[in-house]
Subunit: 328 residues, 2 copies
């Protein structure tokens, strides 16, 4: 389907590369503004972690385990695997009487520079606690203990994943066309960009019911603990801090980005078709500025969109710009 | 301008991301086959290093300095900054009575894992010899000594860069619409995808004249020293080895890839519009297989296009495929 030109990389006086995508802004009633094809089916990847965390609270598992707001933020996170994240997930598992081997997320080197350097220079392999999804998986294990399910909680037909699928289809308002296996081995259900924006708008307009209360707790947890949702120098953490905690944002692999704006009652979802994170970060920056919740002159916003790009001698080589027709 | 769908990332049974681009195959007489817009203006980036190296040989500077074939390969390289590359460029400069401070490429951490780890774990900053373009710059310095130019050989109006520009416009058969400053601070002149493919076809069909001889020497140097052109595990090195040295290939930043096929008398140039290297590597693999010079079943070809993508638990999550209408 036809996508919209969103972000351009300029070098000198000429455009060098271009990123197209689909973006939708919804309020409680539906689509407010859109670019590209709202019906485009995408994999939300990690951008839907707050949806996957709904059963954790709605089932009563979170309160039964006495989870803190910080732990709820970690359940919605793609963290950097910094020492504080690793310790927090380790403590969480210990509190459940579980340990690292109970995770099913697998291992990868952490993004956090200090922890990455520590592991690299000490010839130490990363453990599953370092996985950027380990907080989400600690949430899955907390729900699983409550549901008394089997140990392989990432299998698509497992009660934990079926609960996540039901919540996903309910808040997106769509029957998912299927799932893919995510990097952390959990099933990732597909939906339209509009469906994902609709879900974010529901998080921005939570009702008084059980679901609304769960949504409010997760959004407040993300906004109150931006350091748990990603990490130092990461776009989610920096953008939430730059907006003073007024908005919750979450990135997903392959250039998905979502935002929840409670004060405006708006939800945003976007996907850059080529999967480039530099473009999804620039595009969400443009949309948050367009909606007046992010100052485009803020250092964080400038860094993600519009600031001069310099080379290894400090010379300016170009910049990322929004394409004509997409909010500057 | 309208680009062609070339590469798709599939997750499970659904397409997740898509890469479009422009590709042209030329022979000595002109365009043989094309996808997207042959007239699209692009920055060749490092894919045109063999063009920038023509004046080094044509001026007599290379022979005056007694450059080896290995050094000529390094002049066309985007090397990994491995110990052997750093030593080779250091020795080259010493042979000219010059040293690292004479370079103007700047510094960045090397791609080579062992050297990167050595610098990281010993708190050592990389030097300009580690810059992936240091071989090209050693070539610039060799030409500069011959031309008796000033020390700032990367300035666009410097004799070294003017010689590179002239060679570039002659072999592309176009007047460049302008330049951008490259990551290594040298000017990078723009041309059309067709112009870049035409230049590669000229390298594949070298005449008996001075230029033809220079082209033959550079192509032979690249094919004979694939380890100098990039490094272990890098696509240029792996692809040239996989084709038994029959074809010279070179990547460029922002997803440009070129190939020189002397036996077929063909030249290839492609640009993925979004700048994703995973897609330019997959697309050149598809085109080299399409032309019968690369076995699509070869481990290197499979690794760049079509092999199952696995996550950090070893589970298959998807694969890169060619889009309908682009050679499989």
């Amino acid at each position: 389907m036809r996508s919209a030109e969103m972000i351009e990389l300029w070098r000198g006086d000429l455009p060098e590369s271009q990123h197209c995508g689909h973006a939708v802004i919804c309020d409680a009633h539906g689509v407010v503004e859109a670019w590209g094809q709202p019906a485009q089916v995408i994999f939300p990847r990690s951008s839907c972690k707050m949806i996957q965390a709904l059963p954790l609270i709605e089932s009563g598992a979170a309160d039964a385990a006495g989870l803190t707001e910080r732990q709820l933020a970690l359940a919605c996170a793609s963290h950097s695997g910094a020492a504080l994240h690793v310790a927090a997930v380790g403590d969480w598992l210990a509190g459940l009487g579980l340990a690292e081997p109970d995770l099913r997320c697998g291992t990868h080197m952490p993004r956090d520079a200090a922890e990455n350097r520590r592991l690299t220079c000490s010839d130490t392999a990363p453990c599953q606690l370092h996985n950027n999804c380990s907080g989400k998986h600690a949430g899955f294990l907390t729900l699983n203990r409550h549901l008394k399910g089997g140990p392989d909680y990432v299998e698509p037909d497992h009660p934990v994943q079926q609960a996540a699928k039901s919540a996903f289809e309910e808040v997106t308002g769509e029957v998912s066309p299927g799932f893919g296996i995510d990097g952390c081995s959990a099933p990732n259900w597909a939906c339209s960009v509009e469906g994902l924006a609709r879900a974010m708008a529901r998080f921005a307009n939570p009702g008084p019911d059980r679901r609304g209360q769960a949504m409010r707790r997760l959004v407040d947890a993300m906004r109150s603990h931006p350091d748990m949702v990603a990490g130092e120098g990461r776009s989610c953490t920096d953008l939430m801090r730059a907006m003073g905690g007024a908005v919750a944002v979450k990135t997903g692999a392959e250039a998905v980005f979502v935002a929840i704006l409670p004060e405006q009652g708006l939800g945003i979802a976007l996907k850059i078709t080529d999967g480039a994170t530099r473009a999804s970060e620039a595009a969400i920056t443009a949309l948050l500025s367009h909606l007046g919740v992010l100052d485009p002159a803020h250092p964080v916003a400038r860094d993600l969109l519009g600031a001069p790009i310099t080379n290894c001698r400090g010379r300016i080589t170009g910049e990322l710009r929004t394409a004509a027709g997409f909010p500057a």
